[in-house]
């Protein structure tokens, strides 16, 4: 190959490459705004956990360890020393229906769905909520392992796991929660759908 044709060839290649990346760009982005997040940005910001444990990080713990962390991290200050006293949602017991107190305008005597660990239809969502929200006003205070242990402890209080069972992403995914059928998947939807059809 002569020098000139090599040159022509690589020019052609460059044009092709340019055209190709151009097409890829056009497909992915019209405005070129926004940036690919770094790993460090992604993880604290993206805390979404799926019902089957999608997104759960590595790590593990046990209910036994969770009992100690429950004391050390002062969960009991709001949820009660044994998790049954409140005032924040009680952890122990069967599916709780709560009743609006007398004198509550418009609602007295009516039931509404309460809280309780056994209400959660999917165990990974307990991990997820502790991770996002607890202890209240101090999100991010617990390590992943501590959250596995605490989740295990709350499940143990409800007789769902054993005291020394290893609680990790796989264990949480495989737990058959008593209220598993309490979660009704939302119906499909399409634009312009009428209310009667949504029902």
């Amino acid at each position: 190959m002569t020098g000139a044709s090599t040159m022509r060839f690589s020019l052609l290649a460059a044009v092709l490459v340019l055209a190709w990346t151009g097409a890829a760009e056009a497909q992915g982005s019209t405005y070129g705004l926004g940036r690919t997040p770094t790993d460090e940005e992604l993880h604290p910001w993206d805390e979404a956990i799926g019902p089957m444990g999608e997104g759960l990080p590595p790590g593990s713990g046990t209910a036994e360890q969770g009992a100690v962390i429950y004391q050390r991290r002062r969960c009991g200050e709001c949820h009660g020393p044994t998790g049954a006293e409140g005032p924040a949602p009680r952890f122990v017991g069967p599916l709780q229906m709560e009743t609006y107190p007398a004198g509550t305008a418009g609602h007295a005597g009516q039931n509404f769905p309460g809280r309780g660990i056994s209400n959660f239809p999917f165990a990974p969502l307990i991990w997820s909520f502790i991770n996002k929200a607890m202890p209240l006003n101090q999100r991010g205070y617990l390590t992943d392992d501590e959250i596995y242990s605490l989740t295990g402890y709350l499940l143990y209080l409800n007789g769902i796991v054993g005291e020394t069972d290893l609680i990790d992403a796989r264990a949480l995914r495989e737990i058959e929660m008593p209220n598993r059928d309490g979660y009704v998947p939302p119906p499909p939807w399409k634009p312009g759908m009428r209310k009667a059809e949504v029902k």
Binding site: L33, H43, P44, A48, P57, T104, N119, G182, M193
Partner: protein, 416 residues
């Protein structure tokens, strides 16, 4: 320490320095919260201290427009959250179709973040996309924008026989002009992959609330809003970013939006996996998206001064989560006869629409009713039809016809 944990700690540190996250959060009245302002805040003062009285326009001292806290119901509705705060729009004071942002109803659990610095806030588009993207607020503002008028109505905005005023019957609704970027633009920028059926919107609030939105809806008309009625969205409405999901129940309109994740199935969120699906007599109640056609007469209405005999222009608001209001019918004889009310101005999709009907009251006891018909030919149901539709005595969302009884002394009563 893993990248996840390191990032997490850094986030905590910055977040805490920024927002004083460790401090106990008092229920902050919106009136005293002027985010990003260096002004001295005067407790109780509606907007803080101005250097000149004309620096911002206050309402006349003769106008007492305030949200109405639902103190009694508040606690129970908060399911035990002592700092929960619900307050209604004073819809008896509204004119036209736009609700001033400082009167837009609020329903707040423990979750409101104290103060979000818009320079540090980010929106992440993630999940099943070709390339996850992270946006600053400035970048979002450089994208094509839309400004659309839409109402937002709380799921709890339903009449009850116990309610004594118009505001109690129907105060958890408001209508604003929302400005922002269509969510479809952001999802297209990130390149949505095949198989996406839902998107999860997540909040940067204190407990990470969120909600699942059907993907076709996300691509249709959902707005990532940074503006409300011509100014930045106010803190209690989700500053600096909130989702506006036109026509869907209030809880879908995620405040303090930080992430939209494309998914092939819903990721049930805290409230969705408990309260919104475990409602007594689940079935059709389990998960409800769009709101049906609704209207309410705002004058005359319970809670107002007694009605004077003679000419009175009946006035009210109508809306539908499924489209535009095409007609409103009013009855001044308890439902025996109905007349078409006059629709004021353009009837916009999924927006407050003002209607009126001239009427001369002869001083006889009577019942006033209104019913909305939307452009999908749906008719606002009676209380009985409404209960039958949802197979529940008091369904979680309510759009039944609201009756006002006027007794011969001119007093107006809730006749629901």
């Amino acid at each position: 320490m893993s990248a996840r944990q390191a990032g997490r700690r850094r986030f905590i540190k910055e977040g805490a320095a920024l927002a004083g996250l460790a401090a106990a959060a008092p229920a902050v009245g919106a009136q005293t919260l002027v985010s990003g302002s260096s002004r001295t805040h005067v407790p109780g003062g509606p907007h803080g201290q101005a250097e000149h009285p004309l620096e911002f326009g206050e309402r006349s001292r003769f106008v007492r427009a305030r949200r109405i806290p639902i103190t009694q119901v508040g606690h129970a509705d908060m399911h035990g959250d002592p700092n929960g705060y619900d307050a209604m729009t004073p819809i008896d004071q509204l004119t036209g179709t736009i609700t001033p942002a400082d009167l837009h109803y609020v329903s707040q659990h423990q979750n409101a973040p104290e103060d979000i610095d818009p320079r540090k806030h980010r929106l992440l588009i993630s999940g099943m996309v070709d390339r996850p993207l992270i946006f600053t607020l400035d970048e979002l503002k450089r994208l094509p924008s839309v400004s659309r008028i839409h109402y937002i109505e709380c799921i709890a905005n339903r009449p009850s026989a116990r309610d004594q005023t118009l505001n109690q019957v129907c105060g958890m609704v408001a209508c604003s002009e929302w400005t922002g970027v269509l969510l479809s633009v952001l999802l297209e920028e990130a390149g949505v992959q095949d198989g996406v059926t839902w998107v999860l919107g997540e909040s940067a609030d204190k407990v990470g609330l969120g909600t699942n939105i059907p993907f076709p809806k996300a691509m249709d008309d959902v707005i990532v809003a940074y503006g409300q009625n011509g100014e930045p969205v106010r803190p209690h409405q989700g500053f600096p970013l909130r989702l506006v999901v036109p026509g869907f129940e209030g809880k879908y309109h995620v405040k303090w939006l930080k992430q939209v994740r494309a998914l092939d199935r819903p990721y049930p969120t805290y409230w969705e996996q408990s309260h919104f699906t475990n409602y007594p007599h689940r079935g059709p109640l389990s998960y409800y998206l769009e709101q049906g056609p609704k209207s309410v007469i705002t004058f005359p209405a319970a809670g107002r001064d007694p009605l004077e005999r003679g000419f009175n222009m009946i006035s009210g608001l109508a809306w539908s989560g499924c489209g535009a209001v095409s007609r409103v019918e009013v009855s001044t004889d308890g439902g025996q006869t109905w007349k078409d009310a006059e629709i004021e101005g353009p009837a916009l999709r999924v927006a407050f629409t003002r209607f009126q009907l001239p009427w001369t009251w002869d001083g006889q006891e009577t019942v006033l009713l209104s019913r909305c018909i939307d452009d999908q030919d749906q008719v606002q149901p009676t209380a009985e039809e409404h209960s039958a539709f949802w197979a529940h005595a008091r369904p979680p969302h309510g759009n039944p016809i609201q009756p006002w009884r006027i007794t011969s002394d001119g007093r107006i009563h809730n006749a629901f």
